[in-house]
Symmetry: C2
Subunit: 395 residues, 2 copies
């Protein structure tokens, strides 16, 4: 299986031009949210067959086998019953984020975005002259329902979540999602739920789609994708699930933005959904081990505070008081550890002081990176003469 | 070569689900703007290699070989000198239309769209609360510069053209483009030029990009694509050429709409530009013969007025007085001739009463369709008892 066939750092570097853009040789990039594993062979085979068989023409209503595979997976994995007219193939999940905001918001509307979160989820409403309030999560990364409730105003139209969360890795429980649903229903709000990392939940946690909860089917807009967990970031394909009338409007709008996502990508994505559960199982188990090793190594590092991520493929340690801010931390780690990580400030309130470490990589690479990070942070800790010489903390 | 390997109607029908959507067996679709030829084998080979070699990851700054191939082609074919930062790969030309309008227009701005034209070019500014004035072309399909000049107001920001024109097939001359450029420069306007059909110009005409004219490099936004002439409509890839600062803004915006167009498509498009001039030469010569046959047959049909298209792959006959309107004409031809054509009203002022006939198809299929259309129109002509029994007209 392709996942056991480990790529060397040099191969990963060569094949991921954006993840490694501008980085000197020997630097390990754990910055950009991209998998270091290759996509399943079944996806490659399906795409190559599509090209050879001449299946690269317009498919205005979506490739039927993709829609059918999505329907089956939604029912099987997410507990969402959706017909073809409630699913829209998109040019990656980003296309779904844009369409949801563009269709549902008008200037002056208000959106509550639970943060930290993926930057586009926070930033895009503003480009439509809508207002955003960030609802910061609790210390453990879970929903602070009182903060969310308090943020609701008469102009509030939508609550946006990212579950499993990028960058914290938090996997929301059924219980807290039910409480969120209750707020949304009571105030008649939409919930935009970005579930790009749905496949990656650790320690036996189960992913719950808020759309599967009672009363939420018609008010949830759920975004799914392939780029992250199937190792195919450059194939721009994802899908949105929502109530039929919302999907109709999103489809009409997208016809005037991109016409539709690529036919060959849709055929590849159908194969991913139909034939590649084994790949996801392997990846999840493998990354759980990688996570354990990374968290163990960072938690032994003085000055580091880290919560073990419950899902997705990011660790999100807080590096204050080692640094003034996360920008300094990123610069220091690039220079001293020769590891690129992502500053937390871009992820909204609650992100500052943290760095996001993408651990979707072979164990050997993460171990090497974690060793370098640990050595560099110990050096930093000693250099700035922190009084508290204790080890790092798991919270 | 793949082009000489003629597909049967049954094969074309099976592989073009949107072009043939909802049509009974035996119906010939000349409706949707899609080629009935398969894409060049070099494009297929390049895409398959990309998949096998693991080149399907993020390429945030565009695939270098695609940008370089576009630079070379722009210089060689369009007389446009552009650096990498003046070219943006897009999810088909539609993505470029949307980005150009979204970046350059604000609510209340005014756009002059030369019509008849591709519907999105007319409609999209309105979805951004900008105002559109249609500047109808002359009877021969060429620019009516007096009408354009008269439409300019203090709020006018842009003039939009489609050259070669969809749906009329008109290829604008250097002389008339120079006059248009003079208007744009004098009033300090942008020109959005959709040149999707640049490769298809007949009777020895040469395609002229308005961006290549003096003073236009910084005020022209030019859209190019592959979907139409390379027979790859479902591969969503195109590119925009404009001044560096406009491209930077369009790129930033697109990052929040789709991130970027597919990596594998970009690699395929690079092969089209670098290796497939032979394909375009063949297609152009072949379609010129198809056009000649189609125009000859329609011009012998009573009640039909037709101008031989100078480029692109559409004939755009006027079927008044045979029908009250083009909607009736489309319905009649589908029922009586079992040929689907596209009503002209959707293309803006000057389109009503016409139908658009896509002739990018094997000659045998176009001959069969033209025979059926001619018979049905003769029947119609006789049934409604038109006094004027003369043959059709070429104008």
């Amino acid at each position: 299986m392709s996942l056991t066939e480990k790529l060397t750092l040099e191969e990963i570097r060569r094949k991921r031009p954006s993840k490694y853009a501008g980085l000197e040789e020997g630097v390990i990039s754990l910055g950009l949210a991209e998998s270091d594993f290759e996509m399943p062979k079944e996806v490659k085979e399906a795409m190559i067959s599509a090209i050879l068989e001449g299946r690269y023409h317009y498919e205005m209503d979506g490739v039927v086998e993709f829609l059918e595979a999505a329907m089956d997976k939604l029912s099987r994995f997410n507990g969402i019953s959706a017909g073809k007219e409630e699913i829209l193939p998109t040019v990656g999940a980003m296309n779904g984020i844009w369409l949801a905001y563009r269709i549902l918001l008008k200037p002056g509307d208000h959106v509550i975005v639970v943060t930290p979160s993926y930057p586009a989820l926070i930033g895009r409403p503003k480009s439509l002259q809508a207002e955003v309030t960030e609802a910061k999560v609790r210390k453990d990364g879970h929903l602070d329902l009182a903060v969310i409730e308090k943020a609701v105003s008469s102009r509030t139209r939508m609550i946006t979540i990212c579950n499993p969360n990028n960058p914290t890795g938090t996997v929301y429980t059924k219980d807290e999602l039910e409480q969120l649903a209750e707020i949304a229903i009571r105030h008649d709000l939409y919930v935009l739920s970005d579930e790009l990392y749905e496949n990656l939940t650790y320690d036996g946690r189960k992913h719950v789609s808020i759309a599967s909860l009672p009363g939420m089917r018609e008010r949830a807009i759920t975004l799914f994708g392939f780029t992250k967990t199937y190792g195919m970031s450059g194939l721009r394909i994802g899908y949105v699930v929502a109530e039929r009338e919302i999907i109709r409007k999103m489809k009409d709008e997208n016809t005037g933005i991109v016409i539709h996502p690529g036919t060959v990508e849709q055929i590849g994505a159908a194969a991913a959904l139909k034939k590649c559960d084994y790949y996801i199982d392997f990846l999840k188990n493998y990354l759980e081990k990688v996570r354990n090793r990374l968290v163990a190594m960072l938690s032994e590092t003085p000055g580091v505070t880290i919560s073990p991520p419950e899902g997705a493929f990011f660790a999100f340690p807080n590096l204050i008081p080692l640094f003034e801010n996360d920008k300094d931390a990123v610069e220091y780690l690039l220079k001293e550890a020769r590891v690129l990580v992502h500053g937390g400030s871009g992820f909204g309130e609650g992100g500052a002081g943290h760095v996001r470490i993408n651990f979707c990589s072979p164990l050997e690479i993460i171990e090497e990176a974690a060793n370098r990070i640990r050595s560099a942070l110990i050096k930093r800790h000693d250099a700035i003469g922190l009084k508290n010489k204790s080890l790092g903390n798991i919270v």
